[in-house]
């Protein structure tokens, strides 16, 4: 395998994980809760492409719409579901002063609820969709053949990150979310409206989840009601190794995790490849032993009373 191909593959999976980790990191920032249902938002977005039916053959639904409408449609569906989970599953608990672990359990409940609903409607058999056929081809750049979908994934991720960082830096809501992510209590004391900041973080995480839905389906062409679980775990681990509460850390942590998985996949001897994840998560443990506060958090960002 060519080194450039390998790097593109690594960057592609890294990008995907970075988007997941950022979605989880945004919500964690304002709520100090790991939203395990984030992976299921991605799954919902993928299933929204096809007609809800128990039949094996998946006829496209939103997936049949013209491209710009398709993107807008999936964005809307996932963002609305994200906002609904916030409104109905988490807000009431938060108002009653639930702590992080209670909210975490609630996010598991939401996750299983969404999975069970999809299982009920679509059955548990994986379905294949070929909606983004055009993306599955290989392109040749300077004599190197790389997957078009990987290039698109990387570009979309860069654009999303730039857009989001501009939004967080320039907009009124953005500065509130950044402040809330660093010190939620203090932000509230200074008049930041908690409900609005949290709903907005969920909305943004929904947009990121929708992007991952589309990129994931474009890459794999498969729908599975459990597809979100490994993504959520990867995103969670990404936020941890990047440093909890730091948004750039989440992006870099997710990216490193994805890139490392892909590199190990290619570089490990063939007989060890099935155990790739053992190596990846072994590395994660080593990283956390040496940098328990995360890879990308600077020393003095810790709490000072």
């Amino acid at each position: 395998m060519n080194i450039v191909q390998l790097l593109v593959d690594a960057a592609s999976l890294g990008s995907q994980y970075a988007l997941v980790a950022l979605g989880i990191g945004l919500v964690f920032g304002v709520m100090r809760m790991i939203n395990f249902a984030h992976g299921d938002l991605i799954m919902i977005g993928a299933y929204a492409l096809v007609v809800p039916t128990a039949a094996d053959l998946a006829a496209p639904l939103i997936g049949a719409w013209p491209f710009p409408l398709l993107i807008a449609g999936i964005l809307c569906v996932v963002t609305l579901v994200a906002l609904a989970t916030e409104r109905f599953a988490f807000r009431a608990l938060r108002k009653r002063g639930a702590d992080g672990s209670t909210l975490l359990i609630s996010s598991f409940a939401v996750s299983y609820l969404i999975q069970s609903l999809v299982l009920f409607i679509h059955t548990g058999r994986p379905k294949s969709v070929s909606i983004f056929g055009a993306l599955t081809q290989q392109v040749t750049i300077h004599g190197v053949r790389v997957g078009l979908v990987d290039i698109v994934t990387i570009i979309v991720t860069i654009l999303l990150l730039l857009g989001l960082s501009l939004y967080l830096r320039r907009s009124r809501a953005g500065i509130e979310i950044r402040a809330a992510a660093e010190d939620f209590t203090m932000a509230r004391m200074l008049g930041v409206r908690a409900d609005r900041a949290i709903a907005l973080a969920f909305g943004l995480s929904g947009i990121l989840a929708a992007a991952v839905s589309l990129l994931y389906v474009a890459k794999t062409g498969v729908l599975d009601f459990r597809m979100g679980v490994p993504l959520a775990i990867a995103g969670f681990v990404g936020t941890v190794i990047g440093g909890m509460g730091s948004l750039p850390g989440a992006v870099l942590g997710g990216f490193s995790l994805g890139a490392a998985s892909m590199l190990l996949q290619a570089l490990l001897p063939a007989e060890l490849r099935p155990a790739r994840d053992a190596f990846v998560y072994g590395l994660v443990i080593v990283v956390l032993l040496f940098r328990p506060q995360g890879l990308f958090v600077t020393g003095n960002a810790g709490e000072r009373i």
Partner: protein
């Protein structure tokens, strides 16, 4: 004329009566010093006024209207702002952004918030470092950002919780000047909690002294200063 009152505020922590029927008033344009030995209940009282602590009994009124049960953010919008002993700046935001956050509370746009924030920063003498990351500031400057941040909320009542703690003498003198100008420049009344007696005597118009959760004395600086109870309980022991 606007006024903030506490009426018979009591706070009970399990066995401990932290505040016992305290009446305090803060009137437009004045600088009121809140004094008392450690454990007298000063911070508890400020927590009650700013909505962080629910009183067991009694009410807090702003312009005669009860603000009991309001959350800190709602109170901030009602014109009651405070600083904290632990300043807790957003270390990964710039100094200006730290102040903008609270300016957004009343601003219609980000630009308006930005100019309010600039004005507050210039007032506390930190205009030149507005663009730096808050995490890089020296300690005394952090405290001044804390004051600017409270000012950007455009408070009518500003509660300063030990603003001079850990400051050198010359930093304290700068602080005295800042506090003295607050009612004039920002139209807010100031409640100053401070251990530094010299500073309090210098800037306050009136003193309210707590001891063991009760009001020990309340009145003009000269009267309170010569009150034998106060001397015995606090000044004498210091």
């Amino acid at each position: 004329m606007s006024e903030l009152n506490t009426e018979a505020i009591s706070v009970q922590f399990q066995g401990l009566r932290a505040l016992d029927s305290v009446d305090l008033s803060l009137k437009e344009g004045e600088i009121l010093g809140l004094l008392g030995p450690n454990g007298a209940g000063k911070t508890t009282l400020v927590n009650v006024i700013s909505g962080f602590q629910r009183p067991t009994e009694g009410t807090v009124r702003v312009d005669g209207k009860s603000v009991g049960g309001l959350t800190p953010d709602a109170l901030a919008r009602c014109g009651v702002a405070r600083t904290f002993q632990s300043v807790r700046l957003f270390r990964r935001l710039s100094v200006l952004e730290n102040v903008e956050i609270s300016a957004l509370c009343h601003a219609k746009s980000r630009n308006e918030a930005r100019s309010t924030a600039r004005r507050a920063l210039e007032f506390v003498g930190l205009g030149p470092v507005a663009r730096r990351l808050a995490g890089e500031l020296p300690y005394a400057d952090e405290r001044r950002v804390g004051i600017a941040r409270a000012l950007a909320l455009r408070p009518r009542f500003l509660l300063l919780d030990e603003p001079a703690a850990g400051m050198t003498d010359s930093e304290c003198r700068d602080l005295v000047e800042i506090v003295r100008q607050l009612p004039q420049s920002f139209g807010c009344a100031v409640l100053l909690i401070e251990h530094n007696i010299g500073l309090v005597m210098e800037v306050c118009n009136r003193l309210h002294v707590l001891n063991g959760g009760r009001t020990l004395a309340d009145g003009p600086v000269e009267t309170v200063r010569n009150n034998p109870d106060v001397i015995a309980a606090y000044l004498g022991g210091a």
